[in-house]
């Protein structure tokens, strides 16, 4: 429109585009290029190998990934949707407490969660063995592992996606819609199927896509539980470990294509004219459960569900007190003390991973904070050509499985590039903070954009007409108002960076090994107590950050999904 405005927009866009091109687009293209290489020449051979009869393991892995993901969607929905319906529509004693517990799985980093499940329900797990002892059985009655194991862990960690999206959709359904359907003569069942359920479809579709993508990308669960079972995200890791970078690149490209098409489909779906409510300010309307039998049945079920949900947290806490070497052949641990936590502060090799994790997550989040703030301001408040494209570019790291992000960075920075100032980054300390930064850009951009979209343009105009220059307005008016959004996104990014496993396992070095890697190492040494203590530190950090962002910024974790 006008020159000065255009110049400002351009000035904002230059660093944004440079960073996105350098650390998101270029690495992806580098992977794409690598997938067409075979011993130095350009060829389709890798793809022929992938789909050909020669390496059936790849096709099998692809099929397994899709199959597991579809089942994960089904199981997560079966748990999450009824829970959401019960908690938003019925009132019974302890409702708000139980609904708070229901999202507890999200405070477990994926690796730690899987580990806890292994200890609980695995072959030497506490629960199967306890049942065996109690009932004097010959063998453990059950144990999880392989595909069932992965599915159970997925259902446990991913049902909150359904639970949260459906809850918020249900809360937004205007009760008068259901009331008017009822007054038009529709029965309870009819009201649900004809009115409520159709209104929930956007939320259900969004959650399904999300769970599908997350489980396609899932790494920790197959990593620890799969046994001989192959999934695509894990195949990438094995190809890389075996030094077959070209095949790793090909596998990454195929996984990326699936993920990005899901991202584009989701965007299309969300931008479609959806069933948004015309009315505003809807009060909650819960029906009181009056039947005493039903009421107490619900409470009992709630308590039982709570125990199941919190068992992984509990076992983690208990095992973190088991000192090294005291739990080897026995069924149950026998000694408990603070040894593992003491070592944390006394043994530098134990403390180093914690320090590394904290420092690298901090650096990455600082970057996300600055970059996310500027980017989402440009995306929401500025007009320019190619905005949609930039928006997609920003969201790509969110859609890409972590394994792929890791591979992209390996293939892009295993040689000097202008974006790394001519340095080889792979094998250095700084590759991991860079990976965390790239991974969590979308998180900060999303949460900031959500706040920025609420900010009326007239606020900025008012400041401007009072004589304030753009920078002053941004600093004194815009920034303080969007701070809660930026901070909550950043804190969440921090939480996830501390728990990040897939990129870490691909990119870590001896100098920068983070907590997750150390957990893996301790597991290999069968030093379960120390691994649990590390896990507790991650959980503790996550809990602290979540409480801070909820208490001080009023941010609910569901807003940043």
């Amino acid at each position: 429109m006008l020159k000065a405005e255009k110049r400002k927009t351009l000035l904002l866009l230059i660093p944004i585009v440079l960073i996105l091109v350098g650390y998101v687009l270029y690495p992806s293209l580098e992977t794409l290029l690598e997938s067409f290489k075979k011993s130095g020449s350009l060829t389709l051979q890798n793809y022929i190998d992938f789909f050909g009869p020669k390496a059936q393991s790849n096709l099998e892995a692809l099929w397994n990934s899709v199959y597991i993901s579809l089942l994960s969607v089904l199981f997560s929905a079966l748990i999450g949707v009824p829970l959401a319906y019960i908690f938003t529509r019925y009132h019974f004693p302890g409702r708000s407490f139980f609904s708070g517990i229901a999202i507890m799985p999200i405070v477990l980093p994926s690796l730690v969660g899987v580990m806890a499940f292994m200890w609980l329900y695995g072959e030497v797990g506490l629960i199967p063995n306890m049942i065996k002892d109690i009932f004097n059985l010959e063998e453990v009655p059950f144990s999880i592992g392989g595909i069932t194991g992965i599915l159970i862990v997925h259902a446990y960690t991913m049902y909150p996606y359904f639970y949260m999206t459906v809850s918020s959709a249900l809360n937004n359904v205007d009760p008068s819609l259901e009331e008017s359907a009822a007054s038009l003569g529709s029965g309870r069942f009819g009201v649900f199927w004809k009115v409520t359920f159709p209104l929930l479809t956007p939320a259900l579709v969004a959650a399904s896509l999300l769970v599908f993508m997350v489980s396609m990308a899932s790494f920790s669960a197959p990593f620890l539980l799969a046994g001989g079972f192959r999934v695509l995200s894990l195949q990438i890791y094995f190809s890389k470990i075996n030094g077959n970078l070209e095949m790793a690149a090909t596998q990454s490209v195929i996984l990326s294509i699936i993920s990005i098409s899901f991202l584009l489909f989701m965007r299309w779906f969300q931008n479609r004219k959806d069933y948004r409510m015309g009315t505003k300010g809807i009060g909650a309307h819960r029906s009181e459960v009056s039947n005493p039998f039903l009421k107490w049945l619900m409470v009992t079920l709630g308590v039982m569900a709570m125990i199941i949900l919190l068992l992984p947290h509990a076992v983690l806490a208990i095992l973190s007190f088991v000192p090294e070497g005291s739990w080897t052949w026995e069924t149950y641990p026998t000694a408990f003390n603070f040894e593992n936590y003491r070592l944390l502060f006394e043994d530098p090799t134990i403390w180093d991973p914690v320090r590394n994790s904290l420092f690298m997550a901090f650096v990455a989040c600082l970057g996300c904070f600055l970059f996310g703030m500027i980017t989402s301001y440009a995306l929401v408040k500025r007009k320019f050509i190619g905005k949609n494209l930039l928006d997609i570019l920003v969201m790509i790291p969110w859609a890409l499985p972590a394994t792929v992000v890791g591979m992209n960075l390996i293939l892009a920075f295993n040689k000097g590039t202008p974006f790394s100032f001519g340095q080889v980054l792979v094998g250095t300390y700084w590759i991991l903070p860079l990976a965390y930064f790239v991974r969590f850009i979308p998180l900060v951009v999303r949460s900031t954009s959500a706040v920025l979209e609420q900010l009326d343009d007239s606020i900025e105009e008012a400041a401007q007409s009072l004589g304030a220059k753009w920078l002053y307005t941004f600093r004194r008016v815009v920034l303080p108002m969007i701070m809660p959004g930026v901070l909550s996104g950043t804190l969440l990014a921090f939480v996830q960076a501390v728990g990040e496993f897939p990129t870490s396992v691909l990119l870590y070095t001896l100098d920068n090994r983070p907590i997750s890697i150390e957990i893996m190492n301790q597991l290999r040494l069968f030093n379960l107590g120390q691994a649990a203590a590390f896990g507790m530190i991650q959980v503790g950090l996550i809990a602290i950050v979540m409480i801070i962002s909820y208490k001080f910024f009023g941010v609910k974790s569901e807003n940043t999904l």
Binding site: S458, I459, E461, A463, Q464, S465, L466, A468, R476, M481
Partner: protein, 360 residues
Amino acid sequence: MSSVTLSNITKRFGDFTAVENLDLVIKEGEFFTFLGPSGCGKTTTLRMIAGFYYPTEGKVKFNEKDMTTVSPENRNTGMVFQNYALFPHMTVFENVAFGLKVRKKKKVEIKKRVEDVLEKVRLKPFIDRQVSQLSGGQQQRVALARALVIEPDILLLDEPLSNLDARLRDEMRNEILRLQREYGITTIYVTHDQVEALTMSDRIAVFNVGNCQQIGTPTEIYNHPVNDFVAEFIGETNLLDVRWRKEKEAFYSEDLNSSIVVTPSGSEVEDAPLKMSIRPEAIEVSGSELSGPNVYVGKVHLVQFTGEAVHSFIALHDRNMFIKVTDLNKGPSTYLKENDEVYVQFPPSQIRIVPKAAKE
């Protein structure tokens, strides 16, 4: 204080022309209103004066200074937004002081000027409140104080009262007018509410679909509208198609099937389609026979009581048309009764013959 001159302003957004060929001079110290239905280009014009839009063609001048492409922060205008656009993270004091801080005034001066202006808008006791703790009317006054404290050359108000309830709106109307007189500041006021426009303005510009239809004082606009759009948009009116009959030297209405006597007899007679406008309150109604020109017989169809006035809709005999008549409430005995036969007279001096507005 400044005068504002808009010469030949056109503003296009892509293919859409929001404002077309606008020429306007707003005098120093004047209370000037842009009035029109939504989408008529009044807010776009205001935003061009504020500097948020630059005109596609034409010039904006404050006094003699060309401001066409000066950015908003360098115009020294004070703007009050429809949603007030208060900074929610600041107190009342900080909001009002914002413009002064930007201007790098001394702390003592800022404090004094903010207190003074808050005194004027009667918000002194609320100086340390967060703006979210204020009522709608109070927030409105903070927005006003924030715009006034920088001693702007021009005060711009964009539908400032549209978010308030009716009673508060009346109160704020007087408040704004009082402040404008006190500061003697050139004020441009955008509204779609004709009552606001008529009661507050020195002059009004009536907009429709990007064009300025008429500029004039409230009485001129109400009593002598230039076309049927203005006549209909401002106040209530009865509009009838008429044409000039050369052979009889009189206006003729097809609908009434009769000639119409108008004084002074129109000299601005053209071939263009014409309309006659007569205000409901100007029509004489009587149960007994009336003498004189333009008398018709009708039957009362509907009587509406609004409190201060009584509206009656009268179906003219054998015609498929209704005439609206308004009388002040003078007690139940004076009300017309539905289905009564009545005589209706259009006094010749109260009839306005206007051309039809060009329709887009």
